[in-house]
């Protein structure tokens, strides 16, 4: 709140340049400090790996196809689990919001199970599905089911009653009612739920892969830990973060695109 606050709207190319510089300055500082500390020899090279070695490992993992194998294994599980979980979630959400009896039947159990963190289901799922792919797909499905069901339920419930009355007056069949009335009115909120579901699915998948897997980014990091290869672990951290960022970013872009007509 200082009075000499420079105008936020004024943005010369120079100040934009300065902003970018300020943005990356701490990250660059940390990287330089890391490199200096690694070169100083105070810690063994295995513990504090120089950055160029992390880069070289990343390149080696990428060119040998190992990284691709792990990333595609993780993304395959994420896609299968997310598609299953969010489809069932959206359908359950719509059903609970439109039918009072379905709501009465499912809502109390839904609320109850939703209290349990998804990660806590991992030991149970291992007992049921063994440590194969299906267990990881199921954990992602559960993680994406709850946010998408909840968001869809809330979105459909918030549709003004007048919309539904008009549909009833026109005797709109259920399919066109869902497509013409429910869908456009709920897109932004449902997408927010799907976004949360995707993030949670990714988090739970990495946890599940750390715990029990024969492939996947989580498993790559876990192997790196067991073999004391910090460079491999760091590559895993970087790629995991990057994928999380790209996934979230693409849903945000989709969200903007699909709700453009609202603000226009």
């Amino acid at each position: 709140m200082p009075a000499d606050n420079p105008g936020r709207s004024r943005s010369s190319p120079l100040s934009a340049y300065r902003t970018t510089l300020l943005r990356i300055a701490p990250i660059v500082t940390i990287l330089i400090a890391w490199e200096l500390a690694a070169l100083s020899g105070l810690w063994p090279r295995q513990v504090l790996v120089p950055l160029e070695q992390v880069g070289a490992t990343l390149l080696a993992l990428a060119s040998s196809g190992e990284l691709e194998r792990h990333v595609s294994a993780s993304l395959y599980r994420l896609t299968c689990g997310f598609l299953t979980g969010s489809t069932i979630g959206v359908a359950t959400g719509v059903a609970m919001a439109l039918s009072r009896n379905v709501h009465r039947l499912l809502w109390p159990s839904f609320t109850c199970v939703r209290q349990v963190p998804v990660i806590a289901f991992i030991p149970l799922l291992i007992l049921f599905f063994d440590v194969e792919d299906s267990f990881k797909i199921v954990i992602v499905a559960i993680a994406s089911f709850f946010p998408s069901a909840l968001a869809t339920h809330d979105a459909v419930r918030d549709i003004p009653a007048s919309h539904r009355e008009v549909a009833r007056l026109y005797r709109l069949p259920l399919a066109s009612f869902l497509r013409r009335v429910i869908l456009p009115a709920t897109v932004p909120q449902v997408l927010t739920g799907l976004r949360l579901g995707l993030t949670r699915g990714w988090l739970s998948l990495v946890a599940a892969e750390l715990l029990a897997a024969d492939s996947g980014l989580g498993q790559m990091m876990e192997m790196g830990r067991q073999l004391f290869q910090i460079d491999v672990v760091l590559c895993g951290v970087i790629v995991t973060g990057l994928i999380g960022f790209l996934l979230d970013g693409s849903v945000v872009r989709l969200e903007r695109r699909l709700s453009r007509w609202r603000t226009a």
């Binding site: 806590a120 990495v206 910090i230 973060g241």
Partner: protein, 256 residues
């Protein structure tokens, strides 16, 4: 119209169907009973774990870990959130860094933390504190930015010093969002606690107990722990909601 059905009967119908199916599965064969522990056995394990103190001990260890981490991560988060709210320079430098680090799922840091700090209580506390840090810092920042201009103007009229403006205007108006941050941090740190305990099964906690039970193929014990984790998470959330309502009773109720 369908006949009116009693809501309570319908609410109980679904769990009853699931339990019935579960019990039926458990009686199919010895192999099935291995995964589907009979309901009676689950009940017995619960009573056993309660009476020999296992459940209380492990739940206490997890709870203590989650709350300690909330205290550490939450207070650092609020402090940095307030600092970035006061200084634009700090906001522009620290916020992109936090946003970058936040892209990595908490448990993704686990192998690295394990290599650097081992798998003891310190490493666990570090990760759980990190999970509590993100929501508090982000919400505190949001709260500090959302100060109503008329209040800031009143402060300027009275010639408030920076400290007075912070204490009398910015802090109280940021408080509701700070509390939102703490309540999210509470949920996150509970989840992260269970996560690190599952993955670092070295010290006490509900996650460790669950992992041991999984290795021993004790579905009954795993289920008791899952239920305990759910109930405790729910109770923590409710208790914090009450505390928040009491501490912020001078505030008009906020939306959602």
């Amino acid at each position: 119209m369908t006949p009116r059905l009693k809501p309570a009967a319908l609410a109980l119908l679904f769990p009853a169907l699931v339990l019935g199916w579960w019990e039926w599965e458990s009686r199919q064969s010895a192999g099935h009973a291995y995964a589907f522990a009979p309901l009676e056995q689950i009940g017995r394990s619960f009573v056993d774990m309660l009476s020999d103190g296992t459940l209380l001990f492990q739940a206490g260890a997890s709870l203590q870990r989650a709350l300690t981490a909330l205290l550490i991560g939450g207070s650092i988060g609020i402090a940095i959130g307030v600092a970035t709210g006061l200084s634009r320079l700090l906001d522009r430098t620290a916020t992109p860094l936090i946003t970058t680090l936040r892209q990595v799922p908490i448990l993704g840091w686990l192998p690295l933390v394990a290599l650097w700090f081992g798998n003891g209580d310190g490493a666990k506390l570090l990760l759980v504190s990190l999970s509590a840090f993100y929501p508090t810092v982000l919400n505190t920042q949001k709260g500090m930015q959302a100060i109503e201009t008329r209040y800031a103007e009143v402060g300027r009229l009275y010639g408030f010093t920076r400290w007075q403006a912070l204490r009398l205007i910015a802090w109280p108006s940021a408080l509701p969002l700070i509390f939102t941050g703490i309540s999210q941090a509470l949920a996150f740190s509970w989840i992260a606690t269970i996560g690190v305990e599952l993955l670092f099964s070295a010290t006490a906690g509900l996650g460790t107990e669950m992992m041991a039970a999984q290795v021993a193929a004790r579905t009954d014990v795993v289920l008791v722990c899952v239920a305990c984790v759910g109930v405790m998470g729910f109770a923590l959330n409710q208790l914090f909601g009450l505390l928040r309502a009491r501490l912020l009773r001078w505030q008009p109720p906020i939306r959602n």
